[in-house]
Symmetry: D2
Subunit: 272 residues, 4 copies
């Protein structure tokens, strides 16, 4: 039975680049390093992000994330504090000397992100090629999450939409795909990490929070990703997860984060 | 085993609207009518769309579709003729007295679509809530395709993003979901048609071209959709499919379209 | 990106057989006919199947199904009445002059089915090649359901396991595949009907009950299948669905069955 | 939107057993230990398994696997050497002092496995409840692989089919599920390891060979599984993978196995 032909010969520009180093503030991403990004799903107030940034720094994570504009399934759910939250995030990052990253949801908002160290494109927007092209015309690093329905090839081509415009500072992120298993929020495809390395030298990180959707699974899955060769993690953290305004089931506490940082570093070390 | 809670009690605004009628030019969509939209994947030239519009009218379809801005997996594939193709489409539609629809891929392009009768949001943009909200502030009908990874609930909430801004002229479209079966391009979820009717009175149409990705499957799947209660079809047509600039495997010829129109009307008639 | 090679050149023996006619009692299955099989998920008592057989005959279905040995997810759920229920089924079929079919779950039970007109292999056993081979050594027609995780190719090869042993009386059944959508029990893959016809001349029927798992979806999906070219339907029926011992959400009443029979016949007729 | 109810309150018997220790020959499985099973997909000759057993022992794996009866998609592919291969396996295991395991495909073959230390139920037979019950009546440990379309709940219930008959020596195995991604053979669901531990104290191992279907992914995925808390691995090994009679793309060499053993032990050690 002949399969529908949906691939073709091509050479990804990112494959030709053999020694990729991406500076995100003071943090350096490459296909050999390991970095941990952490922070709240949504920034809930100025105090909230300042306090949490302090805890996250203490726990040993190297980059601060925080949601300002949120993509929620329902238009009636909390949509984030918006632009002001980006200011809070930048200030909190400066205070704690942590580089910052936040998700963009509107191509017309790019200017809002000028003071951040990285811009995240969420899974829902991985095929928003308009947004990708526009980000490709800037030089801020882009954290590109795999869409829930996207093949490796489609993720690599999405990166190509950014890179073909000139911006090669792209970090890929496996965050789980949609499958029939619904005990977890999505199914983390751990094989994506080594499989993508067959095709690209871009750094590849893993999101254990959105993939599992369950806080008790975040540590084991994080350690699994580290051992499988991921170049980093992006983890949702909240001081009091049950009171979080969004994604409360999947946030870990700062002390749980600290354990993950410590253990994943041990794994990286022992594997050389 | 307690499932992850990912639903909640809500009442969709579209469910409260019990007698929905949406005018797309002269065509009337409702949850009782049946309309056929047809046209090329990409508009390849002015002549191309004029000739095809004539054939499509003759074949009995009621609305003309044509791609101007294309979302392609690779940035190196043909991306459509752009804005000028929208002008060709509107002119061809006027000449043949056919209402027109084309896909939008950039929230900053809305003005380009002012002379069309409907704006299509493709599967890749179903969760581009920024775009949906902006379309909700206008009054041009929106053809909203289900994302390849989207549940019924997420599709209904996407419609809600449009409707909550004021525009209730939304037509839903089942176009296939991503599954393990890859002989077909996607898996058409025929049950979506009656299942969505449990929750909404919005019209629901089916796309047999993108779901199957194979021209020989377009007719049987179209007839299946008609019999299952779909309120219409959107079909890709090309005079010479093997020469099409995009999606050549799935286009049917005008004469094949004519058969589908005829047979689906018979089904609608016999089922009352 | 080169895909993992998982197909090969082959010619299915069933494709070489161009004029397949399978007698199931008085009913004739082919890739041109249309037959409706109906009955309860489980046979609950002798009276239960006798009464229902009468109603099913009256509703116009041509073959009687009924479960004797049940495969249930939990070992603690009702597992069917077993061998005695097969006797009830055969007697009820004789009384109403309806051919009979029931599912086999154990290769050591084949003798129990000698008086039935067809043996069903359920989705869970589609890859139980031991069972398939053994059924291939007999001559009772086999109703082979597609596994929930099975590609078209795997279904065709499963048929080949039966046919390569000598029994060519195989009827294929699309009954829904596992996807992320969980409003329905499974996702009916309507395209399987015409797609499989590209490769085989075996009759292909559709199971709207197990695929949707919801009684209100059974009629529209049945009609869709008829219009898409299916050679029959297999439908779960119960006089009082809410009291059924298994699969209560998906059973239709005899009067609903009667509507489906009538409307699907109209569709078959109008499509010629 | 109310989801279809497909779960219920229950207490798995395996959850009540809090200190499970399963002896497989000299090897001890528990939810705290870590064991590596290795061997060829198919036993190709007596010499083949004797040589490989020696290499596997040397590489540090603790249990020997080898296929005698094979379940192949096509009836025309190599189906294994059958019963004689079980004898070869047992002898090779004795010579190298390695416990042995092989897959069963026919409920009538149980006696053939009397001299093995464990019986494997493959993914295709996870829902062959007839077979599971029969294995439950013996006391040989059962290695139960998750079906490609099976939820955690269904896997746990399959174990329950064995345990409810009296045999509590069950080891679960995550071996990848069917998803839309087809660069890999299946998608390894790494989260299954910690998620299942929420419900059971049975040991859980991972199969990196069948899940990825690509030899170069076996090491990283194996290490990921070890770090995520798996209680073992089952790995396909061949001296000359390109000449293997089955599954050649996924076999690793003895020297690659040796690396995996060494590195995974380091991970287990460092995580305590």
């Amino acid at each position: 039975m002949e399969k529908r032909e949906n691939t073709k010969e091509y050479e990804f520009s990112n494959k030709r680049m053999t020694d990729i180093k991406i500076s995100v503030g003071d943090a350096l991403f490459s296909n050999k390093n390991f970095n941990i990004i952490a922070g709240p799903c949504s920034i809930e107030s100025e105090d909230h992000i300042f306090e949490l940034a302090h805890d996250i720094k203490k726990a040993g994570a190297g980059i601060l994330r925080g949601g300002a504009f949120k993509l929620r399934t329902s238009p009636y759910d909390f949509q984030g504090l918006g632009k002001v939250a980006l200011n809070y995030l930048v200030s909190a990052g400066k205070k704690e000397n942590l580089p910052t990253v936040s998700e963009i949801i509107d191509v017309r908002h790019i200017d809002y992100y000028a003071d951040l160290d990285m811009i995240q494109v969420g899974a829902r927007n991985m095929k928003n090629y308009t947004l990708l092209r526009e980000l490709g015309r800037g030089d801020i690093p882009v954290l590109l999450k795999r869409g829930m329905d996207s093949t490796y090839e489609e993720l690599l081509f999405a990166a190509e939409y950014i890179m073909s415009e000139g911006n090669s500072n792209v970090i890929l992120c496996e965050r789980g795909i949609r499958t029939f298993e619904n005990y977890t929020r999505n199914t983390l495809d751990i094989s994506a990490v080594p499989a993508l390395k067959n095709f690209t030298n871009l750094p590849i990180i893993v999101d254990p929070s959105h993939s599992t959707g369950r806080s008790e699974l975040v540590e084991p899955v994080s350690l699994g990703a580290a051992a499988a060769g991921a170049n980093g993690l992006i983890i949702e953290v909240h001081k009091n997860p049950s009171k979080a305004l969004s994604d409360k089931e999947q946030a870990v506490t700062p002390s749980e984060l600290s354990n993950i940082v410590e253990k994943s570093k041990k794994i990286i070390e022992v594997l050389g």
